[in-house]
Symmetry: C2
Subunit: 780 residues, 2 copies
């Protein structure tokens, strides 16, 4: 359905992808993968004209609201500004009627611009050329720009164009907004206010329409309509054959949570500011506003400059696709906000953040722009309050991070009910919010990862130590004493593999908890000499004296599952005893979901079927604790039993394949990871793109193909590029220095502009350089 070759625009090769035929049954695909945004807001790319099956979404980061006590908080779907209804000769324009030629909908990643163009022939035989453009400004975070252009080719037409602001939107029926004032200023500027019902966040939406006919500004008197939760301007006019109507719609979006607007908390000030901003935008006009936006993106691409020479030009495009979406979803402007599992591109997972951020996305920022990584970790620091509350509520101590988090102080926000159980006909209970506890050590791990790679001592002093100590304290209180085995165990959890609920001693969970305890101990001992003042401050607030003794005792006695005679580590206490079924019928991407049409979750729980990388994840995160042969044996055992029914699975498998030098498999799995959003499955992205998978794509390349790792605080490099690649180059931050790493078939070159000496380990050999270093590729 999507074309990855810039067919009509060679300049955009590896920078764009194109839908060449509109498919009304699969609108979610392009709506999501072509969604626009700037970290402040995300705009799903629904078509201007509405279709049954379309989903219009506009989310502003961090504006969470809870519909009622039975639901969990979520990012509310703000008023729609993108719908434009076109009546042509009295008939509603729709691509489902008449016929269409030269259809193209393209997302240009370089300029972050969505375009759509085609020639439509009405049922009456009149041909009309349409062009649409749209961007969400990276220069002015509050600005959306749209352009609509129509040219009747054969005969004149009568046109009615209706467009406005529509706050009748909801989140699949849940309405998060009070209806606010709707106002038209100067018969021209539309302003609509909506306020979230529980969190009381004011949204101010302003919109403006301007027209040109054949390039000449045209005043068209609108019919103004204010309906319930909706306001609209309808413009009627006649266009002759060959005449071109251009409509420009500019939109300003503000909320009372805007940190960049003084007095944003006062609605009248915010309204005035927002209207003023719209008038300023009007003066500049679409083209100039777009140019500012384009330049902002040019800086971004300069910062994240990747080069890939591959037999398949798709590979670089897929990587850019990942970076593009990481840019549009990440709230670099405000540390009170996280990254949603679907970014800002759909309702899926309600805008909540999971371990996806720390384990799958954060490495990208750690190595590409450490200050953003820090912002994201500060978001978790702000979340300590909610994590401590969750611990208390569950009878534990310290900080028990929520499985899903929204506004940081909200704490746990995982919903409780999921899809239907085909056996009982009831909805399945979602246990993750209660017992998927590895998130707490995942966050501690991320702090450690960031600190080791960036050397950001200030962050550790201000946030990091406290997070690591209090998460360790949680684990110490969480472990259960197993009298029979004379050891501590962790019963009744869900590991990364969410098909297995209420399991005991999930290996990933136990090892990561152990890591967390050990790390706390290590830092505790370090701080005694390095910063006794800070330690004493933390000691009194976190009761470290007693806690640290407990960490030691419990870490020492924590059960860490060991490999059996085959070298297989059991995913949990009972996994290896469960029934094995043939997963072949469910292994293709389009069939994954059908497993639960045949079996209930309870039934799957009793089979050796894994949703995603579980124990394999551990081999990646704590790689030097496990021997390469062990990893391969476990890969060979578990992969056939894994459905990859999670976007977190393929990239991990790919990196592991790189680790044990299976370049072909690594590349195959990299491609599978890119297909999660960009592949042929028409509905895989309906609820939004897959944030973790996008981070995973970057990891496949940098951690997998380039073999970049942080081990024991050292930068390791172990390139093993796919055979189809001739060259790979990318930027990498290490302890404050920006490196540029270029890998060809024969050699590796590392450059840095800074003066500092860079230490690293190449193919296992420690070395150091200043300025530039070259070494030969070792071929496997």
């Amino acid at each position: 359905m999507l074309n990855y070759h810039a067919i009509n625009n060679p300049e955009l090769t590896q920078w764009s992808f194109t839908e060449t035929k509109f498919n009304p049954l699969a609108q979610g695909k392009c709506e999501s993968v072509m969604s626009l945004g700037n970290g402040y807001m995300g705009l799903r790319s629904a078509t201007e004209e509405a279709y049954i099956g379309g989903t219009r979404n506009l989310f502003v980061n961090g504006t969470f609201n809870r519909f009622d006590d039975l639901e969990v908080t979520e990012l509310p779907n703000a008023a729609d500004v993108t719908q434009v209804e076109l009546l042509i000769d009295g008939q509603r324009f729709s691509l489902e009627t008449g016929s269409v030629t030269d259809y193209e909908r393209t997302l240009n990643l370089r300029d972050a611009e969505l375009t759509r163009s085609f020639v439509w022939r009405s049922d009456q035989g009149k041909r009309i050329r349409f062009e649409f453009k749209r961007f969400v400004s990276m220069h002015d975070l509050h600005l959306i720009g749209m352009k609509v252009q129509l040219t009747p080719l054969d005969e004149g037409i009568t046109l009615r164009l209706a467009s406005g602001i529509n706050a009748q939107m909801s989140n699949s029926g849940s309405q998060h907004f009070h209806e606010g004032e709707k106002r038209i200023f100067d018969k021209k500027y539309l302003q609509l206010i909506q306020t979230t019902t529980e969190s009381k966040v004011d949204f101010v939406m302003n919109a403006l329409h301007s027209f040109w006919i054949d390039g000449v500004s045209a005043e068209i008197k609108p019919q103004m309509e204010i309906e319930r939760r909706k306001m609209e301007m309808a413009y009627s006019l006649d266009l002759q054959a060959g005449q071109t109507l251009k409509m420009q719609k500019l939109i300003q979006v503000h909320t009372s949570r805007d940190a960049d607007v003084e007095g944003a908390g006062e609605l009248e000030k915010l309204r005035a500011h927002s209207l003023q901003a719209l008038k300023k935008a009007e003066e500049a006009g679409y083209d100039q506003l777009f140019e500012q936006h384009r330049q902002a993106w040019a800086s971004i691409w300069e910062k994240y400059h990747f080069e890939i020479e591959s037999e398949d030009s798709f590979d670089l495009l897929a990587l850019r696709f990942a970076i593009y979406h990481l840019m549009v979803m990440t709230p670099v402007h405000d540390r009170r906000m996280g990254i949603g599992a679907k970014g800002l591109s759909g309702e899926g997972y309600k805008g909540h953040s999971f371990w996806d951020t720390e384990i799958f996305i954060l490495p990208f920022f750690i190595y590409s722009e450490p200050k953003v990584a820090r912002t994201l970790l500060e978001y978790r620091y702000l979340g300590l309050e909610g994590a401590r509350r969750k611990a208390r509520e569950n009878g534990f101590k310290g900080a028990m991070y929520p499985w899903e988090v929204a506004w940081p102080s909200d704490g746990e926000v995982t919903p409780v009910w999921g899809a239907v159980d085909i056996v009982t006909g009831k909805q399945t209970k979602i246990w993750s919010g209660f017992i998927e506890q590895h998130i707490t050590s995942d966050i501690a791990y991320a702090v450690w990862h960031y600190y080791q790679s960036s050397g950001d001592q200030q962050f550790m002093d201000e946030c990091g130590y406290e997070m690591i100590f209090d998460t360790a304290t949680f684990w110490a209180s969480r472990l259960e004493w197993d009298e029979e085995g004379s050891r501590y165990v962790i019963n009744e959890v869900i590991g990364p593999d969410e098909y297995k609920e209420h399991v005991d001693n999930n290996a990933f969970t136990n090892y990561m908890a152990h890591f967390n305890l050990q790390l706390a101990l290590e830092y505790y001992n370090e701080l005694k000499t390095r910063n006794p003042e800070l330690l004493s401050r933390l000691e009194s607030s976190l009761n470290l004296d007693q806690a640290s003794r407990e960490w030691q005792e419990k870490a020492d006695a924590l059960y860490l599952p060991k490999p059996d005679e085959r070298g297989i580590i059991a995913q949990d206490d009972t996994y290896l005893q469960k029934q094995i079924i043939d997963l072949a019928p469910y292994k293709s991407q389009t069939k994954v979901g059908t497993l639960f049409q045949d079996y209930s979750l309870d039934q799957v729980n009793e089979m050796q079927i894994s949703k995603q990388a579980d124990i394999l994840m551990l081999f990646y995160l704590l790689e030097n604790r496990f021997a390469p042969e062990l990893k391969r044996a476990n890969y060979d055992y578990y992969e056939p039993k894994t459905l990859h029914d999670s976007s977190l699975s393929f990239s991990t498998h790919s990196i592991l394949a790189s680790d044990f030098d299976d370049k072909k498999l690594a590349y195959q799995l990299f491609r599978r990871a890119t297909e999660i959003d960009l592949g042929p499955h028409e509905h895989s992205s309906d609820a939004g793109i897959h944030s973790a998978s996008l981070g995973g794509i970057w990891q496949c390349v940098v951690m997998g193909f380039a073999g970049v790792r942080m081990l024991n605080g050292e930068l390791h490099l172990h390139p093993k590029m796919p055979d189809t690649w001739k060259r790979l180059s990318f930027p990498l931050y290490w302890k404050g220095s920006k490196l540029k790493i270029s890998i060809t078939e024969d050699q590796v070159e590392i450059k840095t502009d800074q003066d500092a000496e860079i230490e690293l380990v190449i193919y296992g050999k420690k070395t150091a350089f200043t300025g530039q270093l070259q070494f030969e590729m070792i071929h496997i």
Copy 2:
């Protein structure tokens, strides 16, 4: 667009009307005028397959809920059960694609059945015959039945049919429901619970699908989906050419306000009851259920048996249309519920009741089924609590009835903000809830009207006197003393003409207030002798001793505007001094709304433009206070200044035209009244049918053409049938006796089965009869 001749089914002549071409831009028309219901619930007739611009509504009477403090309470839009998505060979079936022949959508009024049939040729050239049927049972108030039938004519097809219960619906964005449990029983019965957010009314929806192929029951394994606020079954199968698939969907709807279900307040009991009812319905099957429904409607039509022989067969159809909708909208089963201004056919006016019920609809029931009239007045009796609260809150005494009412104890529920003011760009404030006060005397008038015509002394003793006394007490407290004129005046009101706000001494309001005061005095004096015990009870609770003295004093000194030298009574103190503009450009039905594209309400307020019958209304209600010549003079003055921008206008004008013997005009205006919903205007019924207009259609015929009136407690008959009519016969209740009145060109016949002697006044001459009476028509 609508065809009123039963083209393909002569048996349904004057019983049905048909849409012969589907118009996706005007779906609201058929959705409303073809809506189904049974007084308990109303189902808008949206098509099974969804279209942009369609509106799906299911309302259950009396289940009001308020979204938030900024909105007023309204009838919530319950989960949709009617949508059926059909994928044919992988393409979504839509009448906007391919081509269609033999299209018919018909509302059969006799059987209250909606049918739709056509042959659709896909873009691939395959022809398929479709048939749809639907009813909302009048036998089992909780039952909806649907049938879908498909026959591929040329080649086999692959079909996917998805259908279920969708609670993602809202009222134009306002979500009134908490999401409740969704459950599938026996992989077959869908059950969805939703509970209103503020009023806490539980809704239980159950649905079931059954299939037959060529008449043989077919088990098709569904794919079950439970999404947010939604559950669905998807059935996939292949159909060969000539094979017919029949799908039957049965739905049970219950709420915790059901008075007919024991333990309805306990959700578990209600769920069990509802599921049981669905299983019982399943046993019976669509055809038997429909037959029970058909018989219930046969009894209704027997009860309201009209005959009209007219040159235009449309006339009887229009009357039956009115009676049909009065039946589907009126909650005869529960006196806690009223009649919405749009019935149960759309979101318009939020399900609220206005004076429409008492003045425009009630006469139909008073003379056709008095016990229903009583139920409707009891609803107002229950509303006394809210009326007294409104009086207190406004600084008055007694009962000040709300302009709009919902759940009776809620009191005033008129919204405060309306459409945009084109001058200021702000929303217009709706003043009716504050100052449109004539509703209070309208209700007193209705009590009197019912009592005079039915002789129902029990109702008066239990409810009526109290209502009349306490409304009079309101007026006594409301009147303002005008020192200069030495009289009581009523300033700052809105009369029936809502284009004039904040006027002083609206003639209608003053006369009706006077009527109310006089009526209270009359009954007060009557009760002294007739029922002193009751009077003494009311005296103490309503403080009648003092109140009655005030009624007398104020009625005597209340200013009642008199005609000027031209015989014109001023609509209010300033109306006649205002600017007169040419209304011709706005007078046609399709142009009415455009007035406010040119002028703001403030500007219209300063012109002699009336929305609807105002002073003319008075001539009808208090007809023997005004001379015929005066009525005609005022008609000729005001009508050209009246836009009839209210469905309450034409019928009143028609009856007045009958009153002054202008038969041609009366018939013309009757036709205009029928056109409000049945006419060619494509959007007039978008928000729902016009309840008052439907009552008005009946009044045009019975009060206008047959000249039936209650004057001074006597039944008057003054027939003046349109020249194009040969015969009119109808039932009429009078003081407990059911009469059958038949009017031909030459004579009038009145029959009664009862023994009682009937007294009446024919063409001004008092007479009496038992059994049967005939007299000659007087031709004008």
